[in-house]
Amino acid sequence: MFDIKPLENEWKIYKKKQRYPWYKRSIIFILFVILLFNYKINFSLIQNFLYTFIEDNAIQKLKDNNESVFLINPSLFILQIKKNTFVTPKESINISRNFISIPLLDNKNNKVNLVNSLEKKQSKKLHIEMTESGNIYLYKDIEKRFLETHDVDDALFLAKHYYENHKYKKSEYWALQTNKIDERIEESLFIFVKSKIKLGKKNEGIAILMSYLKNTNSAKAKKILYKIKKNKL
């Protein structure tokens, strides 16, 4: 009988080579999926831009026609485009040119607020989609964007994201940025304190929380303090 060992080794090499194209295909597939996700996110950015553009145009058109209107629910308009179906809104009063209009409500501030809140909504929606994708370059993009806009939502979003992903140095930094812009946002302070604790600066974290408690008596702060003391954070 022949020596079986060289044959076994030969078989191992053969199997390795046989599996190689599968590894290659898997890697290509994973890369393809990653690219697809990227594309999807970029596509959603374009979509968002497009929706805003269409809405602005529509509002301008209505203004040109001297019609004093505001959108009761602009998201419905987006829905119509997105799903390519026409949805009849429950709140509709009159339907004209795909817009729901109430005549003679000449409140410019209200109109501006509504447009602003729509933009905020879109911005938040963008964050949710990015969380799904898990692409680090997008967080870098948000960081860059923050440098230009100083949007508190962006900073808080980044703080939360980095804390959840155990990047406590970064979460501490972004929580601080949030707090610098708007010190009323309690959550930024909590992320800041929790990051400190995770970084091993327990006393410092407790001191910050205690001083916050003196001024506010916040129940949530008390709860976090309790967790820190019990090492349950």
């Binding site: 009988m1 022949f2 079986i4 044959l7 030969e10 078989w11 090499i13 053969y14 199997k15």
Partner: protein
């Protein structure tokens, strides 16, 4: 220590032993076709196919089956030269040994054959006929023209041998029987029947459909290749059984072993 795989291995030793003949659908059809062709008033019959498709065993079987009631002779190994071949033929036709230092006179032999017409019907099964020279084939043709001797010529199927068939037999061969490689089902039946014939039920059952697919892939349904592969498979099993029993399972043949045998025989490469 004797392994149970030893018996299985020996089942697949390549031979043309008639006892090892396995009746399959395709081979049965070929057998019936050949038998009926022999009965017809034909001068020559061409049996061809790739090596390992069962030509020799079919000729053997037909000789064994018909020899009781027919004058049939099987020339297994080709004669080295014309002299040797005609000595053999002389013995068959005259039932006498050629005296030493004598040579057969071909014209006299042909005349002798003419005289036999209507008296005897002789069938000669020529295996490996591609080994005969064209001059010899021409003489064989002339003897077949006497109509007292019928030749069944078995040839390997290659492009060159197709040429031989064209040149020498095109106008004379009235029956051509081609043997082909087995289908997956036939090959499965072949392996199982071979093992069951030796009462190796457990081993026969251990060869599953996935093993058969791989065996078929390697051998392309060629019986000789299949015998070689199965022999090597059971040789590896035998080694493991004796030395590393954890690497074999009686109820299951691992594809790893089939692949190892494939590597050893060069069906697959690293």
């Amino acid at each position: 220590m004797k392994s149970r795989y030893t018996a299985a291995k020996n089942v697949f030793i390549d031979s043309i032993d008639i006892d090892d003949y396995i009746e399959l659908n395709d081979s049965l059809t070929a057998y019936q076709q050949l038998e009926s062709s022999i009965e017809k008033p034909l001068k020559m019959i061409l049996l061809f196919g790739k090596p390992g498709t069962g030509k020799s065993i079919l000729l053997n079987r037909i000789e064994q089956r018909l020899k009781e009631h027919k004058e049939i002779y099987y020339f297994d190994t080709p004669a080295l030269n014309e002299k040797e071949f005609f000595q053999k033929l002389f013995k068959v036709l005259t039932q006498k040994e050629l005296p030493k230092d004598y040579e057969v006179n071909f014209s006299a032999l042909a005349d002798f054959c003419k005289d036999l017409r209507g008296k005897r019907e002789i069938v000669i099964l020529l295996d490996e006929a591609q080994m005969y020279s064209s001059e010899m084939m021409e003489k064989i043709r002339l003897i077949s023209d006497t109509r007292s001797v019928k030749f069944v010529v078995s040839l390997h199927k290659t492009e060159d041998e197709d040429l031989i068939a064209k040149e020498h037999f095109q106008s004379r061969i009235w029956e051509v029987i081609e043997l082909k490689n087995a289908s997956l089902d036939d090959l499965t039946a072949y392996i199982h029947k071979k093992l069951l014939k030796k009462n190796l039920y457990e081993i026969a059952n251990s060869i599953k459909a996935k093993n058969m697919k791989l065996i078929y892939k390697f051998t392309k349904g060629n019986y000789r290749e299949c015998n070689k592969l199965l022999f090597t498979i059971f040789e590896i099993c035998e080694y493991y059984d004796k030395n590393e029993p954890s690497k074999v399972k009686y109820s299951l043949l691992f594809n790893k072993i089939v692949e190892m045998a494939g590597l050893k025989l060069g069906y697959i490469y690293v």
